[in-house]
Symmetry: C2
Subunit: 197 residues, 2 copies
DNA sequence: GTCTATACTGAGATAGAC
DNA sequence: GTCTATCTCAGTATAGAC
């Protein structure tokens, strides 16, 4: 693998593990063994390297989210995406960036993060609309709001898990929101409830 | 105000704004005007000051959460707490710490964060149990899980808002989860079933 | 308690040879 | 493209006088 790619891969890892501000060019070089000269040949500044690494991390994340767009029962896709295995104690490699002051204050670094979330939001809205159309969710729920809520549930789950250094809360969070989603199915015409419409 | 308190207050602000790793002793001194000598007299290391500041930030947060324990209708307390005014773009002064590598790796610094969340969780569980007992929420929902879910919704809402540099997503997240909670009321076959607008 | 001076390290580069 | 040397400044203190 060439130096350039090695640098980007390593920076991506470190930004996931430690964020941007607390990752130094030295860290990167020591982890991947690429020399000073090469590094500054390919990336004139730390920020340039970080931008490349960030784009890579965003690209890593989007395929998973596109499962939401897949075929099949909408509610099943929602559950599958929520329950997909995730390393709760590492957190989200994209969401994490929002807490790094040097990223948050730099529109160029923040832009890929915003774009990533915007794209995932689109997928969420689509599958939620489908779930409502399929009468799996009540039609008085707002798909745009709910999409943000479900994204937030995952992002917040990481926070709680890290605080406790225990993946438990992350699993609780997912179980809790699934419970709510199931409870938010339209009332069905069965022996107990009468049909609403 | 004495130097010691000034230092703690200022460090608290900076840890909220910039986190721990990216806040230097110099930042603190320049913001509050306390000299080098005083600073190291009161706090032998940056970490000692950070610990005091963190305890203070935690203490700031808990009174709000204790509103959940108040009197009155449980569901009303839940809504009031969720909708309480919050500066979405600043984020949570406690939750933020989980994304700081130097805090996350330091059990002493992480402990107050974990304790704070544990306490808030207790309040949430209590009010959720009350809401279930009052038939405002279905009794097949798990209060422990749901408590974590609702905490996560707020924490994650900050992440989305900061990513977009816009409080909108934070409001969406709260509206979305309130919608779910309302939809998760027990079915009441003989009454006009809620079709809200 | 507060001040000023000093010290050592790492962050984040730049320069120029090969 | 990669290497080594060098540079400047900020981070994080320590020392000792007042």
């Amino acid at each position: 693998m060439d130096s350039r790619q090695l640098l980007v891969d390593t920076m991506s890892e470190l930004m996931w593990e430690r964020g941007y501000a607390d990752t130094s060019p030295r860290h990167v070089r020591e982890r991947c063994g690429v020399g000073q000269g090469s590094m500054y040949h390919h990336f004139p500044t730390k920020r340039d390297l970080a931008l490349a690494a960030l784009e890579r991390n965003v690209a890593d994340l989007l395929p998973a989210a596109s499962e939401l767009d897949g075929p099949g029962d909408p509610m099943a896709r929602i559950e599958a995406y929520l329950m997909r295995p995730r390393d709760a104690l590492k957190g989200c490699k994209v969401g994490r960036m929002t807490q790094d002051p040097q990223v948050r204050e730099d529109p160029v670094l923040l832009a890929p993060v915003a774009r990533a979330f915007a794209q995932v939001h689109v997928s969420w809205v689509k599958v939620l609309r489908e779930a409502i159309a399929a009468r799996e969710l009540r039609d008085d729920l707002d798909p745009e709001h709910l999409a943000h809520t479900l994204m937030a549930v995952l992002q917040g789950g990481y926070v709680l898990a890290i605080a406790r250094q225990d993946p438990g809360p992350f699993d609780d969070v997912r179980a809790g929101v699934l419970g709510l989603l199931r409870a938010a199915a339209p009332s069905t015409p069965n022996h107990k409830n009468s049909r609403r419409n």
